[in-house]
C-alpha cells in the first residue's frame, strides 16, 4: 500500500479538510477533527446533520469528495473498510440472520484468514466480556434486542480493532435497557482502552459516556470539548441551546461597561469569564440555565436578585419545572421536587452571572 504512508502518530483518528457531497448536496464541509488515542468521542447533533455520514467516511463505507482520513498514523483515505482497523456497530444491529451468534462473531476473522484456534479463542473471550456465552449457538432471530446489540458489539470486539465506531447503537432499545447498556459500554471502554467514536442524538448518552463531545450542525462541528466545557462554556448559542434539558433561557439585551441590561433587568457580569480579553459594548444575548437559577432562602444571597410571576408549574418527581417570564422573555426555572409553588405566586429568585453564558447578538458567538 503506497498511499498508506506514515503520517505523524499520537492521534488515533485525524480528519483533515473532509468534504463529502451526495451529487449536488454538500453534507460535510471542510471538517477537521483530531481524536486522541483511547478517547471516547461522541458525535452529537440533531437529525440530518451528517453524523452517520461522517462515521461512514471514517469507516470507509463512503467515498470522500475531498480531504484525508488518518487512522493510527496511516493515511487510509482510499483504504477498504476492513483494512482500516475499525469495527462498527449499527443501530439496527445488522447481524447476519442465517448465521449463529458464533458465526456472526467469527465471520470477519474468517475473511481475514485468522487461524481456527485463534478464532475460537477470540470468540470465547468476546463472549465472556459481553456475557453472551450461552447464546453462541443461537440465531439472531432468537435473541432479544439487548442481546443482539451485545453480539453486534462482539463482532467488532473479536477483530481487535483500534477504533470502534458506533452509530446510535442504543436507540432501538427501551429506556431501561438503554441505561444498562450505556453503563456496560462505559465499562467496556475502561477495560479495552480503545478509541471509540459514538454517534447519538441523546444528550444523556453523550454527557455520560464522552471524554469529549463534538456538536455537529449542518455538516460542521460547532464545538468540540469535554462534557463539562460543552455544558458550562458553550462556544455559541446553538450549542448552548442544544445541550441541557430543559434548554437554556435566552434574554436579548445590551452589554455596556461590564453590565448586561435588558429592560428593567440589570446584571453586573462580575465573576464572568469572558472568552476574549477585550469585550466591546453592544447588543448581546445572555443564556441562563434553568438549573442555575437560585430559589428559596439562598436566593437572597445570590449576586443578583429579582422576582418573577409563576405562570405554570410542572412537577416531574425529582424536580419541578416552573414557567415564568423575565425581561419580557419566557424564563424556565428548575426547582427541587419538594418545592411548593403555585401558578400566580410571586417567586423571589437569584441569578449568578458567573454561571451564565453570554453571546454576541448577531454572530451568536460566546463573549
Amino acid at each position: 500500500m503506497n498511499e498508506m504512508t506514515k503520517v505523524d502518530a499520537g492521534h488515533s483518528v485525524e480528519i483533515r479538510h473532509l468534504d463529502l457531497q451526495f451529487g449536488a448536496v454538500e453534507v460535510l464541509k471542510d471538517l477537521n477533527l483530531d481524536i486522541h488515542e483511547g478517547e471516547f468521542l461522541v458525535l452529537l447533533g440533531s437529525s440530518g446533520c451528517g453524523k452517520s455520514t461522517l462515521l461512514n467516511c471514517i469507516a470507509g463505507l463512503l467515498e470522500v469528495t475531498a480531504g484525508q482520513i488518518i487512522i493510527k498514523g496511516k493515511n487510509v483515505t482510499w483504504a477498504e473498510p476492513s483494512e482500516r482497523g475499525i469495527g462498527m456497530v449499527f443501530q439496527s444491529y445488522a447481524l447476519y440472520p442465517q448465521m449463529t451468534v458464533k458465526g456472526n462473531l467469527s465471520f470477519g476473522l474468517k475473511n481475514a484468514r485468522v487461524p481456527k484456534a485463534e478464532i475460537e479463542k477470540r470468540v470465547a473471550r468476546a463472549a465472556e466480556i459481553l456475557q453472551i456465552e450461552p447464546l453462541l449457538d443461537r440465531k439472531p432471530g432468537a435473541l432479544s434486542g439487548g442481546q443482539r446489540q451485545r453480539v453486534a458489539i462482539g463482532r467488532a470486539l473479536v477483530r481487535d480493532v483500534d477504533v470502534f465506531l458506533f452509530d446510535e447503537p442504543l436507540s432501538n432499545l427501551d429506556a431501561k435497557l438503554r441505561a444498562e447498556l450505556r453503563v456496560e459500554l462505559k465499562r467496556l471502554h475502561n477495560q479495552l482502552e480503545n478509541t471509540m467514536i459514538y454517534v447519538t442524538h441523546d444528550q444523556v448518552e453523550a454527557m455520560t459516556l464522552a471524554d469529549r463531545i463534538a456538536i455537529m450542525r449542518g455538516g460542521k462541528i460547532m464545538q468540540l470539548g469535554s462534557p463539562d466545557e460543552i455544558y458550562n462554556r458553550p462556544q455559541n448559542r446553538y450549542v448552548a441551546d442544544f445541550i441541557g434539558s430543559p434548554s437554556m433561557n435566552f434574554i436579548d439585551g445590551r452589554l455596556e461597561g461590564g453590565v448586561f441590561t435588558s429592560g428593567e433587568l440589570r446584571l453586573p457580569m462580575e465573576g464572568y469569564e469572558y472568552a476574549a480579553p477585550q469585550v466591546s459594548d453592544g447588543p448581546a444575548t445572555i443564556g441562563i440555565r434553568p438549573e442555575h437559577v437560585v430559589t428559596g432562602e439562598l436566593a437572597a444571597s445570590a449576586p443578583v436578585q429579582t422576582e418573577v410571576l409563576v405562570e405554570l408549574v410542572e412537577p416531574m418527581g425529582s424536580d419541578t419545572l416552573v414557567y415564568t417570564e423575565l425581561a419580557g422573555e419566557r424564563f424556565r426555572i428548575r426547582m427541587d421536587g419538594q418545592a411548593v409553588v403555585h401558578a400566580g405566586d410571586r417567586l423571589p429568585i437569584g441569578l449568578v452571572p458567573a454561571k451564565a453564558s453570554m453571546f454576541d447578538k448577531s454572530s451568536e458567538v460566546r463573549l
Partner: protein, 340 residues
C-alpha cells in the same frame, strides 16, 4: 359521591365474574359456517374450479380411451376400457412431418434448452440485480432503466434482427476460432469446426437468457434493495468483498426469490414456442414445437387419444413445478417482488 351509577358498579364488582358476563356476548365469537357470504364465496370457487378442471378431465379421459371408444362421441363418459397405448405412442412413436420418434426427442431437446437457460439467466440476473442495488455505480440507474424498457419492446420486433445477430456472431466466432486454433492444437483437421449460434441449441439458450433478463433483474434488484443496507455495510467492515457478500450473506437469504425466478424461467422457457421454432432446426425443436407438429401432422386419421396424451405430457413439467413449489412461490412474491 354516592350516585346510583357508581353504587351499581360497586355492587357488580362484588359479584362473581361469570355472573356479570352472562348478560352480554363473551368468549370467542360464534362463527356461522353457512352464512350467505360463505355460500357465495365457496360457490364461486367451486364453479371456477369446475370450469378449469373440466377440460383437464376430458383430456385425461380421452387419452386413456381407444380410438373406437372415442368415435362413439361422448367426450365426458369415463373410459370403458383403460389403455395406456396412446401415452406410449405419444412419447415414443408419434410422427411429425419429419420424424417418427414421438415427443421424447422434443422432451430431451427442451431439457437441454431449459437447464442451461435457467441457470445462465438466473446467475446473470442475480449478479446484476445485486450489483444494481448494493454496488451502485455512476449510471447504474440509467442502465437499469434501459434494461426495464427492454421488457416493453414486443418480441416480434426483435425476431429477425436476432436471427442476423446470431448468424453473424457465429460467423465472427468461427473466424476467431480458426485463426487462433493452431495456437492451442496441432492435430490435423481439428480446426475445421464451425461455431454455429443460429439454428443451434446454444443460440436458443442465449436468446432465452437475454429475454429473461429485464424481469429477472428487476426481481432480484428489488429483493436485494429490501435487504437493509446496514447488513451490507457490516459485511464490508468484516472484510467481505463483492463475491463474499453475495455468496455468504445475500444468497443464503435469497431462497424465496430464487424459487420465484426459477419458476418464472422454467415455465416461461418450457412453454416457449416462438423462439424454439425460429432459432432452431427441425431435429432440435423443443417439446412444444414437437407437440404442435404431432397434433397438426396430416397423416391418416386424427388420433385424439394420442394428441391428448402428448399435450398432457408436455404440460407435465410446469404442472409438477407449480405443484411442488406453489407455496414457496407465493411467499417469494410477497417477500420482495412487489417492493420498490
Amino acid at each position: 359521591m354516592a350516585n346510583p351509577a357508581t353504587l351499581a358498579s360497586t355492587f357488580a364488582a362484588k359479584q362473581p365474574v361469570h355472573d356479570r358476563l352472562d348478560d352480554g356476548p363473551h368468549g370467542p365469537r360464534p362463527k356461522r359456517s353457512f352464512s350467505r357470504a360463505n355460500i357465495f364465496l365457496y360457490g364461486t370457487l367451486a364453479l371456477v374450479s369446475i370450469y378449469y378442471l373440466l377440460p383437464l378431465y376430458v383430456m385425461l379421459v380421452t387419452s386413456v380411451k381407444g380410438m373406437p371408444e372415442i368415435r362413439m362421441g361422448n367426450v365426458f363418459a369415463p373410459p370403458m376400457e383403460v389403455t395406456f397405448e396412446p401415452w406410449v405412442k405419444a412419447w415414443a412413436e408419434a410422427c411429425t412431418g419429419v420424424n417418427c420418434d414421438g415427443l421424447s426427442r422434443g422432451f430431451w431437446n427442451s431439457v437441454r434448452i431449459l437447464i442451461p437457460s435457467v441457470l445462465l439467466s438466473i446467475t446473470i440476473a442475480l449478479i446484476s440485480g445485486y450489483a444494481l442495488s448494493k454496488w451502485k455505480f455512476k449510471g447504474s440507474e440509467t442502465f437499469f432503466t434501459i434494461l426495464i424498457i427492454g421488457a416493453f419492446i414486443p418480441y416480434q420486433v426483435m425476431l429477425y434482427p436476432i436471427v442476423i445477430m446470431l448468424r453473424d456472431t457465429g460467423g465472427f466466432l468461427t473466424d476467431i476460432w480458426q485463426a487462433t486454433c493452431g495456437v492451442f492444437t496441432s492435430a490435423e483437421g481439428s480446426c475445421r469446426g464451425r461455431i454455429q449460434l443460429f439454428g443451434s441449441l446454444s443460440g436458443l439458450v442465449i436468446v432465452h437468457s437475454i429475454f429473461g433478463m429485464p424481469i429477472l433483474v428487476l426481481l432480484f434488484r428489488n429483493y436485494f434493495a429490501s435487504i437493509p443496507d446496514e447488513l451490507f455495510k457490516a459485511a464490508r467492515v468484516d472484510g467481505a468483498g463483492f463475491w463474499g457478500i453475495l455468496f455468504r450473506i445475500m444468497l443464503p437469504m435469497s431462497m424465496p426469490i430464487l424459487v420465484v425466478a426459477m419458476i418464472l424461467q422454467v415455465t416461461g422457457i418450457w412453454n416457449d414456442f416462438l423462439f424454439g421454432v425460429v432459432y432452431t432446426r427441425a431435429e432440435q425443436y423443443p417439446m412444444t414445437v414437437q407437440l404442435n407438429n404431432i397434433v397438426n401432422s396430416v397423416q391418416g386419421v386424427k388420433e385424439y387419444n394420442v394428441n391428448m396424451a402428448a399435450t398432457l405430457l408436455t404440460g407435465l413439467v410446469p404442472l409438477t413445478i407449480y405443484f411442488f413449489s406453489g407455496k414457496l412461490f407465493v411467499r417469494g412474491i410477497a417477500a420482495g417482488a412487489v417492493k420498490g
